[in-house]
């Protein structure tokens, strides 16, 4: 099978469009794995987390309706949202194959579990040629971690599943998904769990990409440290009650404190990212952009109500080195990257 696998640029030469081909966009995020396929309008998602449990602690019979992976040695890993719920229930911390936007060196032994999750997510591809673009972050400008290893792990996983693959920058995928009306010119920002990824694109050409190691997890960690609690609890409150409109309607005093802290750290995150965009644009972007360009915001961390307005409010305090036509959220911040990757895959495959 491995001989049939086609990597990177060779995808473009491999085939013409035909019914035996499936194109896939696979968003490999720290918190979610999202898949968009060319042969269905459904966009599928699973939580990129798992929880190893001791076989003596729980009986298989009790795992009805729970998603889990079981090995021959009876090791059990609860996967997806169920892992998160179980961990919250028992006050444990879930294991995450990815950490701060990249494959985690601590959890690399779980690569088999991750492979099974991706296989399940992509779904049935029997007797089909499958071509996939998968997301990778840009190199971080504030942290010395290489994306090469991360990229190679996912390449190996897709190789193992018999999928032809190429890696595509995550923020560029937002441009492909959301900026067709601007002929793929714009700034795409993906506020993921692990990293904030930024792509500056001009007419579909990547002018500059970079990432910072501050995003959703950074917020959770800062809040958890400030209020002396576990990050899981903060994430839980954030996902259930967070609104960035400035008003806190919750009565529970402890939850209210978490929400207030979350607001301040969201604002700090946006301030930091905007400053970095300005610095990077000034120093690294050579293209003269005469036209106004949109800023498109996406990623799970941008999901709370009011995020885009908070972004607009923060950025209005800065003098920008480019003209902005509009600041808007992606149509679906959770699925934009996967859809953009699908567009890129089909364009690569179809154009040959």
């Amino acid at each position: 099978m491995s001989e049939d696998i086609v990597k990177d640029e060779t995808i473009k030469k491999k085939i013409k469009k035909d019914s035996g081909v499936i194109c896939v966009g696979l968003d490999c995020g720290t918190m979610h794995l999202v898949c968009s396929r060319s042969d269905t309008d459904e966009v599928r998602v699973t939580r990129n987390v798992f929880l190893p449990i001791d076989k003596d602690d729980i009986s298989i019979n009790k795992l009805t309706d729970i998603s889990y992976v079981k090995t021959e040695d009876d090791d059990i890993f609860i996967i997806g949202s169920d892992a998160f719920e179980f961990a919250n229930l028992f006050g444990q911390t879930v294991s995450r194959p990815m950490e701060r936007g990249l494959i985690s060196p601590k959890e690399i032994s779980a690569i088999d579990v991750l492979t099974l999750m991706i296989k399940d997510l992509i779904g049935d591809t029997t007797d089909k040629d499958v071509y996939c673009s998968y997301s990778i972050p840009a190199e971080a400008i504030d942290e010395a971690r290489s994306v090469t290893y991360h990229e190679n792990v996912f390449a190996r996983i897709l190789n193992n599943l018999g999928v032809n693959h190429t890696s595509v920058n995550e923020a560029m995928a937002i441009i492909y998904s959301e900026c067709a009306k601007e002929k793929f010119s714009g700034i795409g920002i993906s506020f993921g769990a692990g990293m904030a990824n930024v792509a500056i694109s001009y007419k579909g050409v990547e002018a500059h990409t970079f990432s910072t190691a501050r995003s959703g997890d950074w917020i959770d960690k800062q809040v958890a440290e400030a209020l002396a609690m576990i990050p899981n609890r903060v994430t839980n409150v954030k996902e259930k009650y967070m609104k960035l409109t400035g008003e806190v309607t919750i009565k529970n005093k402890k939850t209210k404190r978490i929400l207030e802290a979350l607001y301040y750290y969201h604002k700090a995150l946006i301030e930091y990212t905007v400053k970095k965009i300005i610095e990077e644009f000034d120093e690294k972007v050579d293209i003269e952009m005469d036209d106004e360009i949109p800023i498109v915001i996406s990623g799970g961390t941008s999901l709370p109500e009011g995020f885009v307005n908070l972004f607009k409010s923060v950025i209005s305090n800065y003098e920008l080195p480019f003209e902005v036509s509009e600041i808007r959220a992606a149509k679906n911040p959770l699925t934009a990257v996967a859809n953009g990757l699908l567009i890129r895959t089909i364009a690569d495959v179809k154009g040959k």
């Binding site: 999202v34 968009s36 060319s38 309008d41 459904e42 966009v43 599928r44 998602v45 699973t46 795992l63 309706d65 729970i66 998603s67 889990y68 992976v69 079981k70 090995t71 021959e72 040695d73 996967i79 997806g80 949202s81 169920d82 060196p105 690399i108 032994s109 690569i111 088999d112 492979t115 999750m117 296989k119 399940d120 997510l121 779904g123 090469t148 290893y149 190679n152 792990v153 190996r156 996983i157 193992n160 492909y176 998904s177 067709a180 002929k183 793929f184 001009y202 007419k203 579909g204 679906n332 959770l334 699925t335 859809n339 699908l342 567009i343 890129r344 089909i346 364009a347 179809k350 154009g351």
Partner: protein, 184 residues
Amino acid sequence: MKKLKLVIKEKGKYIQIPGIAPFRTPASVRINKSNLPLVLQVLHKCAVSDFEIVPDDNTEPITETQPIKNKKDPEINDRLDRLESLLTTLVSKNISQKSNNSEQITNRLGRIERILKTSDRFDLDDIGIGKPRVEEMEDQYIPEIDLSDMKLSGKSIEVVDKKSNKDVDDAVDLLSSLTRNGGK
């Protein structure tokens, strides 16, 4: 101090032993005998069972990453040696001629400085020497994937959105045409 060598063959573990730079297995690392209990404790914590601790006769610590570096060094060192010898010749020529033309000497020294700055910026990847080898080694650190003894039960997948296939097709056509025409 008595030196030992820790050899871990198991792939894909990330080991952090206090006093030793973190490394990824497979690896061969020099350790102190006095550190042995701590090393064993860390290995136990990381669930590493396939390892050996043997006497170390080498004077230099050994790690998996060093051979890669050493393999690259001769080529780059040869270049730097040649550059050094060229610079020595230029400088000695200047001295022997005892030129009084200070402007000429300043210009030459300026050129030499630029050459030296260029050599500082040598990047193996830029000149295409090391890259394939590095990727090869990166790949070696990734454990083999074996799903034969694993079974997934239940459904962890949710459908969260329905995309518009027409929007996708339109975007694909536009992207293809922009790519074909170089962004025009």
